[in-house]
């Protein structure tokens, strides 16, 4: 708790933490948006969400290894993960779309373990990051430092999010996705191939996560086994914001980034992950208690 005093004595440190947290929180919001999409349309909670993120990170990492600038990894990862998402849908997910939650949750949990262990075997368990070669900005007599790549990634997330929203509102396929999420049966009667819509939604989610992961590899680090943390972050954001609430997802994502950063500083870096997982439990219980007063529960 010594760091708490430090924070009061030098409030400028708080600015640093806040900026870092918000910049990184944008990536959480993106992953959460993908999760909310699959959840809303297919009624599946994809536990393998975080593994998609990390896989995207590895795409950027290997591009950087090959001498290509990792920013190209953002579209590359999106394409690779889109293909993987489609393949996963055709192999596994289409069998569980209409099954009960027990099956879908455990099946994606299995996929998550499978992907994490695959990455561990193929890429090794080392912590990696893709060097982007950007510089750093200094503010307030170098008390606040902002890595330019974090700003670039923040902007990239905003652009991606905007493109997605416009795509879902305007395009034919986007409208089909929204129709399916509202009422799959009615959509089928109206001639929408819901199976294709599901496949596309799942692949699109994987692509979103892949792009987010490429940004993570540049701004932070990746590691085969930290995928679950991203799943939990995405889930936390969706639980706080609710389904189909884009503004809420963005705000909750940025907020989560900031809160997590402050907690990591105050409690010490070794407890940051513990804080994240405990926060999830506390939020779930809290929301449920509020609902319980009206004789309702989280559905």
């Amino acid at each position: 708790m010594d760091n708490l005093d430090l924070l009061f004595q030098a409030p400028i440190l708080g600015v640093q933490l806040l900026v870092d947290g918000i910049l990184v929180g944008a990536v959480f919001a993106l992953a959460a948006y993908g999760m909310a999409l699959v959840w809303g349309v297919m009624n599946i909670i994809n536990v393998a969400q975080g593994e998609f993120v990390i896989l995207g990170g590895y795409v950027a990492f290997f591009l950087a290894q090959a001498g290509i600038h990792p920013l190209f990894g953002v579209p590359a990862a999106a394409v690779v993960l889109f293909a993987l998402g489609w393949a996963l849908y055709r192999l596994v997910i289409f069998r569980i779309v209409d099954r009960d939650l027990f099956v879908s949750l455990l099946a994606t949990f299995g996929v998550s373990i499978l992907l994490a262990q695959f990455m561990n075997e193929l890429f090794g368990a080392d912590v990696q990051s893709a060097e982007s070669g950007f510089g750093t900005w200094f503010f307030f007599d170098a008390m606040v430092t902002v890595a330019q790549i974090k700003v670039v990634s923040f902007v990239a997330v905003l652009v991606l999010g905007l493109v997605l929203v416009v795509f879902l509102k305007r395009s034919r396929l986007g409208q089909a996705i929204r129709a399916t999420s509202q009422n799959a049966r009615a959509a089928r009667i109206m001639g929408i191939d819901t199976d294709r819509v599901y496949a596309f939604t799942f692949a699109l989610n994987a692509a979103i996560c892949g792009a987010a992961g490429a940004l993570v590899a540049m701004t932070w680090v990746i590691h085969p086994f930290i995928g679950l943390a991203y799943t939990v972050r995405a889930f936390t954001v969706v639980v706080v914001a609710g389904l189909g609430n884009i503004g809420g997802v963005v705000l909750a994502g940025l907020g989560l980034g900031a809160v997590e950063n402050f907690a990591g500083f105050i409690l010490g870096a070794e407890f940051q992950a513990a804080f994240l997982y405990s926060l999830l439990v506390v939020i779930l219980i809290g929301r449920n208690l509020v609902l319980a007063r009206q004789r309702k529960y989280l559905k």
Binding site: A107, Q117, V239, A273, I285
Partner: protein
């Protein structure tokens, strides 16, 4: 088959009693077989019989392990100093001290785990469905992260349990019988519980919680009780496993969500969740397969584990016993109506 079953069980139990003389080299693996059976049985209380999928039951296992070790050590020396020396200050205890500390520790582990379940259950068991599953997943990992940051219990470098005072080989035999006894007691207690009002209540909660509540059932009380029963036995098992392994690593032994935590779910489903014998069968099949074949996979075991989960859950969700029940219903004392029987496990449809 139904008539032969008691003889098979009696034979298996008899064999288990004399196995230290038959196969002394495999005692540790066989002790783990009993632990696996216990894992699957305790998971099934909440996951199968009550329909609340918990991914975080490993929490109680880890709590039990740490509580036992802390008491075993703490009775004689300061725990903080002991872990700081990280095993260099290995304790030399007399048999009386060792067994006294061990059984005291196991008792405390059972209480601590059950209390943790009661306290957490009051909040978490109100959360249903997906939310419950992911909340418990978070709980298990959070505990592992906290333990690996907490200096008092050795943080990330873990904690060594005291040395067994008896003869060489006596340790394996002792812990084999201890885990054997615990698994059998767990089975008998659960069988007794399922046969009574408790079993009916948690099955009602699985089938329709709102209706169960409307019928005047104190659902929260039963749910918490079920989790406590599960935690109680898991806590004791944790204390035993800590001493079998001899070294408590916070993430890989105590709060080992990626291995034990996943296995307990998998074994219960493999055997048939929501049945008494299913978890036992699933645990035996899984553990034997794992011990026999997994060494040939050369490091790809965990990939295979993920694949196995997907395959079992997607294609074989009813489990071995569930499948047998569909295949030979008369063996399970069920009469089949030839007409108008709804297909088993039919979903809501029309989503």
């Amino acid at each position: 088959m139904k008539r032969a079953a008691p003889y098979v069980v009696a034979l298996a139990l008899g064999l288990s009693l004399v196995v230290p003389w038959l196969a002394p080299t495999y005692l540790t693996q066989l002790a783990f077989l009993w632990i696996m059976i216990l894992f699957a049985l305790t998971w099934d209380v909440v996951g199968g019989q009550m329909g609340y999928n918990s991914f975080g039951n490993i929490l109680f296992f880890g709590i039990g392990m740490y509580v036992t070790a802390i008491i075993q050590v703490g009775l004689f020396v300061d725990v903080g100093a002991y872990t700081a020396a990280s095993g260099a200050a290995s304790l030399n205890l007399t048999p009386e001290q060792y067994f006294g500390g061990l059984f005291l520790g196991l008792g405390a582990a059972a209480i601590a785990a059950a209390v943790a379940a009661a306290v957490l259950g009051a909040g978490i068991l109100g959360v249903r469905g997906h939310y419950f599953a992911i909340a418990t997943l978070g709980l298990g990992i959070a505990a592992g992260e906290i333990a690996s940051g907490w200096e008092y219990v050795g943080a990330g470098s873990g904690m060594v349990t005291p040395l067994y005072p008896g003869a060489v080989g006596g340790r394996e035999e002792f812990f084999y019988y201890l885990s054997f006894a615990l698994a059998v007691v767990t089975f008998l207690v659960l069988r007794r519980l399922y046969a009574g009002r408790f079993g009916l209540a948690i099955n009602a909660i699985r089938d329709d919680e709102d209706k169960a509540e409307a019928m005047g059932l104190h659902t929260t009380r039963y749910k918490t009780m079920a989790w406590c029963v599960s935690a109680l036995f898991l806590g004791i098992a944790g204390g035993i496993v800590g001493n079998i392994v001899g070294f408590i690593d916070p993430r890989d032994v105590a709060f080992a969500g990626a291995t034990y935590g996943v296995w307990m779910v998998l074994m219960a489903i493999l055997g048939g969740k929501g049945t008494l014998w299913g978890p036992v069968i699933g645990a035996i099949v899984f553990h034997v397969t794992q011990e026999l074949f997994w060494t040939y996979l050369l490091g790809w075991q965990r990939v295979a584990l993920g694949l196995l989960i997907v395959v079992i859950v997607v294609f074989f969700p009813q489990g071995i016993l569930g499948w047998a029940r569909e295949r030979w219903p008369e063996q399970f004392g069920e009469t089949v109506d030839a007409e108008g029987e709804a297909p088993a496990g039919g979903g809501e449809g029309g989503r």
